[in-house]
Symmetry: C2
Subunit: 342 residues, 2 copies
């Protein structure tokens, strides 16, 4: 039951959150809104986080610098955007042939993931909280069919960051193109292919109209995690209560974002297929060559980047064990269900 | 930055939580501890939830009655335990050939699941919050191998609640036996088989020593969700802040429990296999017969239980769409990874 009210003091806090995403991506961008709303609700409006889309305060891909410098207190981003600073950032988000969504969360929350990544992020005055996952992404839109590894030769493909290093070794030519310009490049044939996220987000950008072949799986993003990056000084200045509020609001946003993608992707996929999109699985030799090159890159990185080596060793062990286990109960169940008439 | 402290009043609240689980199940029982700890942290100790194991205040399987009557403010349980009151309870947890863990969360959080189940639970003075998932469970321990549907005939199997109705139609004889007594029944041969949860929990009970054949998948529990059941009057008496605190703490416990199972199952499975456990996939004809009987039962229930019909219709549509989508990016990625040497 409720005892009489007591008097208590709790500070007013105002934070600015810089997102790396545009408002149009209601799934990814939305996680920051969910976080801010819940923090406010839990504190009776005393702890306010204003959410700003990419470019509003700082450019989308400079949010790490902004948090590091304390220009903003918090960012919501995909850590792998910053692999140019240090490849280790990618391990906190997604690497080709990495962990899937559930495995990533398990590594973070119950494995050593969060601890190891926080040790690393501390170099950037950052403390991180998992803040969403897209689930396994699609492998993108191709003007022509990819029938074997030979078709990757010279293929100009718009592809996110780290994965570019792998497709390069397969003979493709990775392109960095901002979201808003992909459609026109693909339409004109300046590029041959483009990957974005999955059915729900991809449909909005209309890629199906100019490149009908939709490939899966997005082997470079099996379960990319988004993070809330908080300036350590801003975080340390919070009360113990507010620290717990930040943690729980992040967890709620984490659950919500994956749920939103899972709930929204099926209808988008149906509409895409209904309007002529052709679904293809990547040829086995493409997958195998990409896997081999990825593992070679990871070994090279381990030899030259001690930050990477420390985290990747733990990540790789966890990935091995997870796949050993998931193949039985999880895959056995899913595989059967996916083959039933429901 | 932090503005000067202001004075604010927030009530002292003391709740008792009745868990349906013993303390020894640190994964499931642990979710209630995680919830209580986080609620306390977020409120500076003003909102306290004391956590009681099954049987401590009320018997493990009577927690719904206790919350309904207001004997306790909150319970942590697996809703399908209460399918005897109304089969609809099972839809809030797991039914044979139902949703997997991620799909269940998506249905709850972004689909109509939480809304529909709350409409139903209101009849019991309950408001629910998702509070964990075990992931796909294993299919249990068998003294003899199951080579085809014929081997199910007369099989005495300890199996949880609702699934008993299905195996009965396959000719097996379901047994209700409490956790602590399963081992001895299996050892003596009073029963031929027993299912519990998965490697991590099963290993503690030592079933591998008396029944070496370990089957997968647990088709009756593809992603059972645990819930926090809160007495509506107790919930309504909370401030808006505390209501949000309850919601966010549940989300955090929800993430944590699935992560804990995922992180702990692989090592347990390796140890079990290392000590002689033999892993088998259920024969195809067993799976197919069980699927067919399950669908028949659901159709029968829809004809006679309007509560079931209303919720199941939405659940089944969601399940169909989820499996349509998951077979591409998710399964394509997982299947490849599970077949690599990692």
């Amino acid at each position: 039951g409720a005892a009489p009210a007591i008097v208590q003091a709790q500070a007013q806090v105002r934070w600015r959150l810089a997102s790396s995403f545009p408002k149009s991506l209601d799934t990814i961008f939305g996680a920051a809104d969910v976080f801010a709303k819940k923090v406010s609700e839990m504190t009776g409006g005393k702890f306010q986080v204003s959410v700003h889309a990419g470019g509003e305060i700082v450019p989308a891909l400079q949010v790490v610098d902004a948090v590091q410098a304390g220009t903003v207190e918090i960012a919501h981003t995909a850590p792998y955007y910053f692999f140019g600073k240090d490849e280790t950032f990618a391990l906190g988000c997604a690497i080709p042939f990495g962990l899937n969504s559930r495995q990533m969360t398990a590594w973070m929350v119950e494995g050593n993931g969060l601890k190891l990544m926080r040790d690393f992020y501390r170099n950037y005055n950052i403390i991180s909280f998992p803040g969403g996952n897209t689930g396994a992404q699609m492998g993108g839109w191709y003007r022509k069919e990819i029938k074997s590894i030979a078709d990757m030769k010279g293929l100009k493909i718009r592809i996110g960051g780290f994965a570019g290093r792998v497709v390069e070794r397969l003979g493709a030519v990775p392109q960095q193109i901002a979201g808003g310009e992909i459609y026109s490049a693909l339409e004109k044939g300046t590029i041959d292919a483009a990957e974005w996220v999955g059915p729900y987000d991809d449909q909005k950008l209309g890629f199906n109209k100019v490149a009908p072949n939709y490939y899966y799986p997005g082997w470079w993003e099996g379960g990319p995690q988004l993070d809330f990056f908080i300036n350590t000084k801003a975080y340390d200045s919070l009360s113990a209560e507010y620290k717990a509020v930040v943690e729980a609001a992040s967890a709620l946003a984490h659950v919500e974002m994956q749920a939103r993608y899972d709930a929204k992707n099926p209808a988008a996929l149906k509409q895409l297929v209904g309007s002529g999109t052709k679904l293809f699985k990547f040829p086995k030799d493409v997958m195998e060559a990409a896997f081999k090159e990825s593992m070679a890159i990871y070994a090279e990185l381990s030899a030259k980047n001690p930050n990477w080596k420390k985290v990747y060793e733990d990540y790789a062990n966890f990935r091995r064990d997870q796949n050993l286990w998931f193949r039985f109960a999880e895959a056995g169940f899913d595989d059967f269900m996916q083959n039933q008439k429901l």
